[in-house]
């Protein structure tokens, strides 16, 4: 086992609102315990409104009211800087940001300032954490752009002059120019076309391996997880329901939700009927009792409706929160059909 860079223990982050005397509490992150090791890509999967964005906001130390950490800890073990997001001072967060802890954002068009040249954006972003000025700074940025296979003249371009794939590469460049130890990538390829998507994914992986950093990769597309990540954690309604090595998650899932996500992926070369999961994700302001997946679960028993299943180790490095994890079977054989040659 390699060392952990990030340890999350019993994390609860709620949105607490009090409008006109009506109190409302949304339990977006409810009791998550997980860790991210050094030099790995950890995937987080979950649908919209599952709380995955709230979770990564906590990881990125970008907590703003009405969200609040109610319980638990988020401990980073950076080189020469250990910090707990739950108790960190703004100065500590400032010191860690970009240099140690970085973030690749989703919409590359809304991340980059449309009226500023890319070179200026790089200066705004990285000059302070890198502590370099003038020519030394320019050389550093150019060296980094070369690694991203971007030509030096993108620095003089405005965001709208670049294609979607190039813009996304620029945002990856911004996030990685300071060689951070921990990078959060929030759906970085969702808006891209298939060909460009694959290029960008390969680039993120390449950069990660060169720098030896850890990446938390968030997307709802399971086929991206299959090709990108070392381990995957599945979040459903604010809880981590299953976590394990990517291969095991696809070939031997131990939670019915994961089994469904994997089974519903269509593949070229296979036209058998794919099952669709009925129902909708629960409202986090009023989640169901017991296991939050039980209203949609095909394996539901009475116990699921009243008792919350704990996240227990079911195999080597593989944890699942299901009372009936032993009965979960992969719904389709991932190797059926002749598929796409690699």
């Amino acid at each position: 086992m390699s060392e952990d860079l990030l340890k999350v223990e019993g994390l609860k982050a709620y949105y607490q609102m009090n409008y006109f005397g009506v109190q409302r509490e949304v339990r977006a992150v409810d009791d998550i315990t997980m860790s991210v090791r050094k030099n790995e890509i950890y995937g987080i999967a979950g649908e919209s409104s599952s709380g995955k964005t709230s979770f990564i906001k906590v990881l990125a130390a970008a907590i703003r009211p009405p969200m609040r950490i109610v319980a638990g800890s988020v401990k980073y073990d950076f080189k020469g800087l250990a910090m707990d997001v739950a108790t960190a001072t703004p100065a500590q967060i400032e010191a860690a940001r970009w240099k140690h802890l970085s973030y690749i954002m989703q919409g590359s068009m809304s991340v980059l300032n449309p009226v500023r040249r890319i070179g200026k954006t790089f200066e705004d972003f990285a000059q302070k954490p890198l502590g370099l000025r003038g020519d030394a700074f320019r050389q550093r940025v150019l060296g980094h752009l070369d690694r991203l296979k971007l030509r030096p003249d993108v620095l003089n371009a405005y965001p709208h002059e670049l294609s979607g794939g190039m813009r996304q590469r620029v945002t990856i460049g911004l996030a990685t120019v300071c060689h951070p130890e921990f990078v959060i990538a929030d759906e970085p390829t969702t808006a891209l076309d298939v060909v460009v998507q694959k290029e960008v994914l390969a680039l993120i992986r390449e950069i990660q391996q060169e720098m030896g950093s850890s990446v938390v990769f968030v997307t709802h597309d399971m086929s991206v997880h299959a090709n990108m990540t070392d381990r995957v954690g599945i979040i459903y309604a604010g809880r981590l329901v299953e976590e394990g090595p990517t291969r095991q998650m696809f070939f031997a899932p131990r939670h019915p939700y994961t089994a469904h996500l994997v089974a519903s992926l269509p593949r070229i070369g296979d036209t058998t009927q794919r099952p669709a999961l009925e129902g909708r994700p629960p409202n986090l302001a009023n989640p169901p009792q017991g296991c939050r997946f039980h209203p949609r679960c095909p394996l539901v028993v009475d116990k699921c409706k009243s008792e919350v299943p704990p996240l227990i180790t079911v195999a080597n490095d593989h944890r699942s929160a299901c009372w009936r994890w032993q009965d979960v079977e992969p719904l389709v054989n991932p190797q059926a059909g002749h598929g796409v040659p690699a």
């Binding site: 649908e47 060909v195 998507q197 694959k198 390969a202 696809f250 939700y257």
Partner: protein, 303 residues
């Protein structure tokens, strides 16, 4: 065999810029396809952004006029410059489904009001019982019911439910043809298959033809009968979906297929794309070439 929709050598050019910096964008370049009345099918248009697939769909819906060529629906030319009566009649036969259901519905309007106005306009009914019956019937086809939808606003439903409601709205006039522009790309993974399976059952059980526009080859393989692959406005390959995707011939189609992420070697982290393939597909952009027939019935562009 009579034709339902006939697209003949259709091109669309847009002119950009002013007098001095005029630039012509060839969005669609002599596209031809036809659907028959007797055999309902899911006809898929695959392409990346900027390939002209949405422009082609807008021309089929009569929202844009082609620069050259002709689109006809049941023998009548499709255009928005016709009398109101004729246009309404066309709209009752060809209905759109859009990409993002949250943008397609006005957030301040209840969903049943959309359904109701569609029913009023196309079924020409005004009695409450008849309208409700038509609305409920359409909703039942997509696995919802009027009781579930009535009085609710778009934000009260999940993306998958809302997209189904959008399809139900399109089904009210009993159209023989639906044009669905990326109907699943904004829907969550767990709900995506319910929409795709719904399109499949519309074809199989109700005999509705669907023009399905997507960039996702895997769902295209799963549901479509025939498909065309478009690259920068040109059709590069066309034919039976299974035959084309099992063994694509055009370099661009091959590149697309090679870029689909598979789950077979999950966890191995293979992400390389052959750079030769990308270069080869890139070189062909802008060359005109011509479409030739192959023995298995597909058309491929050769240069």
């Amino acid at each position: 065999m009579s034709t339902l929709l006939d697209v003949k050598d259709v091109s669309k050019h847009f002119t950009m810029g002013g007098l001095l910096s005029r630039k012509v964008v060839r969005a669609v370049e002599s596209a031809s396809l036809s659907l028959s009345v007797e055999k309902p099918e899911i006809f898929t248009i695959i392409g990346e952004s900027g390939s002209g697939k949405t422009t082609l769909a807008r021309m089929i819906l009569g929202l844009e006029l082609p620069s050259s060529g002709e689109i006809s629906f049941r023998g009548k030319t499709v255009s928005h410059r016709v009398g109101r009566k004729e246009r309404l009649q066309f709209m009752a036969n060809v209905q759109p489904v859009f990409q993002n259901p949250f943008e397609a519905f006005n957030p301040l309007k209840r969903i049943d009001r959309y359904l109701e106005s569609t029913a009023k306009r196309f079924l020409k009914r005004s009695d409450r019982a008849g309208l409700e019956q038509a609305m409920d019937g359409a909703l039942q086809k997509v696995g919802l019911s009027l009781a579930e939808v009535k009085g609710r606003y778009p934000h009260e439903m999940s993306g998958g439910q809302l997209q189904r409601a959008a399809i139900a709205r399109a089904l009210i006039p009993n159209p023989p043809l639906l044009v669905a522009d990326e109907p699943v790309s904004m829907v969550d993974a767990s709900l995506r298959m319910s929409i795709v399976n719904l399109l499949k059952s519309l074809r199989d059980d109700l005999g509705v033809s669907v023009i399905y526009i997507t960039h996702d080859l895997a769902t295209a393989y799963y549901i479509s009968n025939r498909l065309i692959i478009m690259q920068r406005g040109q059709i590069v390959e066309m034919g039976d979906a299974r035959a084309v995707l099992d063994n694509p011939e055009h370099p661009y189609s091959r590149l697309l297929k090679a870029s689909v992420l598979s789950t077979e070697d999950a966890g191995s982290g293979k992400l390389g794309t052959d750079p030769g393939m990308v270069a080869l597909a890139g070189e062909l952009v802008g060359q005109s070439g011509r479409l030739v027939d192959r023995p298995d019935g597909r058309l491929v562009r050769v240069y």
